[in-house]
Point group: C2
Chain length 289, copies 2
C-alpha cells in the first residue's frame, strides 16, 4: 500500500518544536531550525547528522512550495480510509513543518494569525499518514485518520450543506454530508434499516426485504460471490464482472449494516494489513500481499 511509514522522521519532532506563533509572524526563513532543543545535547553525532540532514530536506521541500503573497497555501485534510474531505484551511511553512514532525494536521489561522493544530481543543486530531503537493505546488493534501468528528459543529466533516438541496427548498432537511458513492450507498442502507419499524405501504424495497430476512440475505451473498467467481471461470466479459462485484458489495454492505459495522472499519483493517510497513510484518506471519 502506498501509505508511507517514515519512522525515522519521528526524530524530527525533537528538532521541529511547535513554537508559539506570533501575530502576523509568518514563518518564511529556515534559520529557526538551527535552534536545537536541549534534548539533542544527548543525541549521538549520528543522530544529530541525521536530524540536520532531515531538516535540510524538509527545508528544500518547503522551498519548492509556491506560497502566496501572505506566505500561505491551501491545505485540505482528507480521510485516508474513506476519502472524505474533512476540512480545508491554509498552511504556512511552519504549519507544514509542524505537520511533518508531529503527524497532526496543522494549519495557519488567518483570523487568529497563529498556528493551529486541528484537535488541540477538541482532541479530535487528524493523524497524518502522508502529505501530497499538487502539480502547481500551491495546494496540499493532508491524508490522515481523524480521531473523531472534524467539524466544530460535531459533524464528521465540515461539508454538510448541499447546494442543490438548498435550491430545491430542502434546507430544512437534516444536514447531508458530501458523501461519495460507497458511503452514499451505506447511508441509504442505514436509512432503510432505520425505517424497519415503520410499516411500508406497497411492495417493500429489496434492501428492506434483505434486512428483514437474514436467510435470504446470506443466500444472496453466497450466490453473488459465486457469480463473481464464474465471470473468471467462464471467461465472461468485463462489464459482467463489474456488475457482479457491485452485487457482492451491495449485499455484503447490507450484512454490515445488520452487524453495525461501517465500511470505514473494514478499510481501516485493510490499510493496517497492507500498509508498506505492514506488508513485511504480515508476510512474516502469513504471506499475504
Amino acid at each position: 500500500m502506498a501509505i508511507s511509514h517514515l519512522h525515522s522522521l519521528q526524530s524530527v519532532r525533537v528538532s521541529f518544536p511547535c513554537r508559539p506563533s506570533v501575530s502576523n509572524n509568518y514563518y518564511h526563513g529556515r534559520d529557526n531550525f538551527t535552534t536545537k532543543s536541549s534534548s539533542l545535547v544527548y543525541a549521538s553525532t549520528n543522530n544529530l547528522d541525521r536530524d540536520l540532514h532531515l531538516q535540510s530536506k524538509v527545508e528544500t521541500v518547503l522551498d519548492s512550495v509556491k506560497w502566496d503573497d501572505r506566505g500561505l497555501a491551501v491545505a485540505i485534510a482528507q480521510n485516508v480510509d474513506t476519502g472524505a474531505i474533512l476540512m480545508q484551511g491554509f498552511a504556512n511553512r511552519e504549519a507544514v513543518a509542524t505537520t511533518v514532525s508531529s503527524r497532526k494536521a496543522t494549519f495557519y489561522s488567518r483570523s487568529r494569525s497563529m498556528l493551529w493544530t486541528k484537535g488541540e481543543t477538541s482532541n479530535n486530531f487528524i493523524n497524518v499518514h502522508d502529505i501530497f503537493l499538487d502539480c502547481d505546488r500551491d495546494s496540499i493534501i493532508y491524508l490522515g485518520k481523524p480521531d473523531g468528528p472534524t467539524c466544530h459543529t460535531g459533524s464528521e466533516t465540515c461539508y454538510y450543506t448541499p447546494v442543490f438541496d438548498l435550491l430545491e427548498n430542502q434546507q430544512d432537511k437534516e444536514d447531508k454530508l458530501a458523501l461519495t458513492t460507497l458511503y452514499s450507498l451505506e447511508s441509504t442502507i442505514a436509512q432503510r434499516k432505520g425505517e424497519l419499524e415503520v410499516p411500508e405501504s406497497g411492495k417493500p424495497s429489496w434492501t428492506r426485504r434483505l434486512l428483514l430476512d437474514e436467510k435470504l440475505l446470506c443466500s444472496k451473498i453466497r450466490e453473488e460471490a459465486d457469480e463473481l467467481c464464474r465471470t473468471l471461470e467462464d471467461n465472461e466479459d468485463k462489464p459482467r464482472a463489474a456488475s457482479e462485484m457491485a452485487d457482492v458489495l451491495y449485499h455484503a454492505m447490507v450484512l454490515l449494516a445488520l452487524k453495525d459495522v461501517k465500511m470505514e472499519e473494514v478499510l481501516d483493517i485493510l490499510r493496517r494489513r497492507f500498509s508498506q510497513s505492514g506488508i513485511e510484518e504480515k508476510r512474516s506471519r502469513n504471506p499475504q500481499a
Copy 2:
C-alpha cells in the same frame, strides 16, 4: 443515494449563460441575471416564473458564501465515485453560478483573471453531481465525475507529489497519486500483477499466488463470502464481521485485477443503480433499494 438529480435546474442554463469574463471583473452583483437570453421570449409564463424563482434561489445561496476580499472562495473538485481530490482552484460568484447551471466544474483563474471551465481545452470536463459548502461557507466541493485525467500533465489528479517520499530521497520514483485505502490496495494488487513475469525469489506473496492460481482464488472468494455470512448466522462479534468483509473485499479485488476491472467502474454501476432518480426507475423494474 444522496446525489441529487435536479432536472428542473437544467432550465437555469437558459438564464445563466456563460458570459465572457472581463479582466479583473469579479462577479459580485445580481443585476446581470436580469439580462435574459432572447430564447426566453418563447418561454411560457410558467417557465419564466420558475426560472426567475430559481435565479433568486441561486442568488440567495451565493449571497450566503463568505467570499474573500478578492471575491473568491476555495473550490475543490472531488471524484464522486472514488473520493479522489482531482484539483483545487478558486471560484467567484459567476464560477459557482456557471457550475450550477452547466454542471461542469468552473473556476476563476487568478493568473488569467477570467472564468475557466475545467475541460474547455482538454475536453476532460468534471461533470458535477452535487456542490457542498463548508460550515464557514468559504470553501466549496464540486462532487463530480471526470471525463478523463484532470491534471494538465495527464495525471489522473493534480496530487502526485508525496512529501514523505521526497524526504526519503525517493523523488526519482514514479509519481505516486494521493490514494486512499481502497485504491492503494488496488494499486498494490495491480503492481503484483505487473510483476508476474518476473521470477520471485523466496516465498511468493499471497497476492501473487492468488493471481497465478484462479482455482485457489475462486475457492477463497467463496470461502470468505461464506465466512462473512456466518458472522451473521452464528451471531459473531463486530470485529469478526469487519475482518471477514476485509477478506471478501481483498480477494474479490484480486479477481477484478485479473479481469482488468477498476473499483471505479464498480462504484459507477452502484451509483447509477442507487441514485435518487435511479431508485424509482429501478423499483419499477426490480424492487431493489
